[in-house]
Amino acid sequence: MRLRKVADRAVRGVFLANAILSAVVLLGILAFLLFYGVRTFSGTPLLKFLFGTVWNPDAYGEPSYGLLPLLLGSFASTAIALLIAIPLGIASAVFISERLKGWVRVTVKTLVELFAGFPSVVIGFFGLVVLAPLIARIFNVPSGLNLLNAGLLLGLMSLPTIISVADDALRVVPHSYREAAYALGATPWTTATRIVLPAARSGILAAVMLGFGRAVGETMAVLMVAGNAALMPKSLFDPIRTITSTIAIELGESAFGDTHFYSLFALGFVLFLLALATNLIAESLIKREKRSFTL
């Protein structure tokens, strides 16, 4: 009898240890990014990293580690992605949540979820062989590997995230809201757009945040179609270089222990902060929506 109690305690301890281990991974990642990242600044000043407009670690004599062109590359491609994915994603989510039922709903949601699981190299490859020639022909530009292509692919890749989080947000709106609207004579359309959508606004905003996180963190697809010149982008048809693809391109060519190597961890730290902030905000928005429905 006592043995069983001891076993019970011991097992609880094992479970707790694993839960703590899982959470500590986050701290571990943060610690390593900081530990290596700060060493960048013994080679280049922090302010030059944050506000420098040139990223050229290979420059002979004086290499420069300016974050801005990469940050701009990430934000520009993500902005295009969201410009496409927000309206399309929210429209799709409203249609799925308010109009689709039964097996049609299950099929559509399954397809969207399947696409979310497509390997990003496969999507990047598609952008390379289909989208790039198409963009080059339609806009009569020499190369289709540019900001527009990256933005389009990122938009497609963040659509599933936005659709499924927004659909969840719409579905937790209580049925009584819809019934009350119908009782007052509102049509389904008015109910969906004037009652349900505003009631779910925090959750919808969370969907947008998570879509942003998905787009800004994507590496391989962007690496394959963005053209990867680390310059300040001026037009849709300029090649761009994102933070993620810079790490992917340069980690292999930098030597362990020099400023270049450490600067890539500093870039990783920037990504880490962006992702963490995005997630925490999204999480609190989802909580806020759920709380707003409890009396």
Partner: protein, 299 residues
């Protein structure tokens, strides 16, 4: 509109409103329909271009003549191997963490912190896991560029996915299952082991299969932790470098010096990778549908 108007609107007006409604929803359906068509088009495009390349030799032979001929067997083996290593780490740790969170965790600060950390992990970009893998496994623990380093890096990445789905599966088991066992004298662990985990198993399996699918397609975490352009031998130990399907596709598509010559092989690799990933997804979805049908737990 006057405030005294209480009569029902005339039929014509009602019809117009219903028509407006249908037009509105139809406009909403357009982007969704386009997206679904795009997904199907992309799949069939890859299918049409890749299918011609795939045959028994392509699947079972190593690449030859600077990748311009031969098959992708070492890449398939490498991808399966690292994914397996990742699961050896993440499945036990993930399930234990999920059991703690759903069965034991008290509502306090520590629990909230753990949950929040795990959820945040799921949103960390995969390239950041790659950096962490380089810092911790490759150089820190001196595992070098190896199957082990890559597998563990992937394991850290898919850990939060496994925890999330396992916790959901365990939470779906009604409290009465545990109470029944404990009322008969079982300890909490005994109740969990005999009355909760067996019923949560299909749900947990679904999560693991989805994690397998996504892990197999990941490139960024293995990029600097052990994957290589070409090895002559299939890895026989955890300390060797390996080839992998997604990286092979990446190099064939963008890095190879005869890109147009190897394009058919790239299409074949893309299709094989996609089909393997979709196969795991499909099995997971079938199990999930059956669980949803069976687990009504109605008394």
């Amino acid at each position: 509109m006057s405030t005294t108007e209480t009569s029902v609107p005339p039929a014509r007006k009602l019809r117009r409103r219903r028509f407006g409604d249908n037009v509105g929803f139809l406009l909403l359906a357009v982007p969704l329909a386009l997206f679904v068509l795009f997904i199907l088009y992309m799949f069939f495009y890859l299918f049409r271009n890749g299918l011609g390349v795939i045959n028994w030799q392509f699947l079972t032979q190593a690449p030859t003549k600077g990748m311009t001929e031969g098959g992708i067997w070492p890449c398939i083996v490498g991808t399966v191997l690292v994914t397996f290593v990742s699961l050896v780490f993440s499945v036990p740790v993930g399930i234990c963490a999920a059991v703690y969170l759903s069965e034991y965790a008290p509502a306090n600060f520590l629990t909230r912190a753990i949950r929040s950390a795990i959820r945040s992990l799921a949103g960390i970009p995969s390239i950041v896991y790659g950096l962490f893998g380089v810092a911790l496994f490759v150089t820190g623990l001196k595992f070098g560029l190896s199957v082990l380093s890559s597998g563990l890096t992937l394991g850290l990445m898919n850990l939060p996915w496994i925890i999330a789905t396992a916790e959901e599966a365990i939470n779906a088991i009604p409290g009465s299952f545990r109470e029944g066992a404990m009322a008969l004298g079982a300890t909490k662990w005994e109740a969990i082991r005999h009355n909760v985990l067996p019923y949560a198993f299909p749900g947990i399996l679904t999560g693991v299969l989805l994690a397998v699918a996504r892990t197999m397609g990941e490139t960024a975490p293995i990029l600097f932790t052990g994957v290589t352009y070409y090895t002559r031998t299939i890895p026989t130990s955890l300390s060797q470098k390996f080839m992998a399907l997604p990286y092979h596709l990446f190099t064939l598509a963008t890095q190879h010096d005869q890109i147009s010559t190897v394009r058919p092989i790239a299409f074949g690799t893309a299709l094989v990778l996609l089909v393997i990933v979709l196969a795991f997804d499909a099995v997971a979805f079938v199990i999930r549908l059956r669980v949803a049908g069976a687990n009504k737990w109605q008394v």
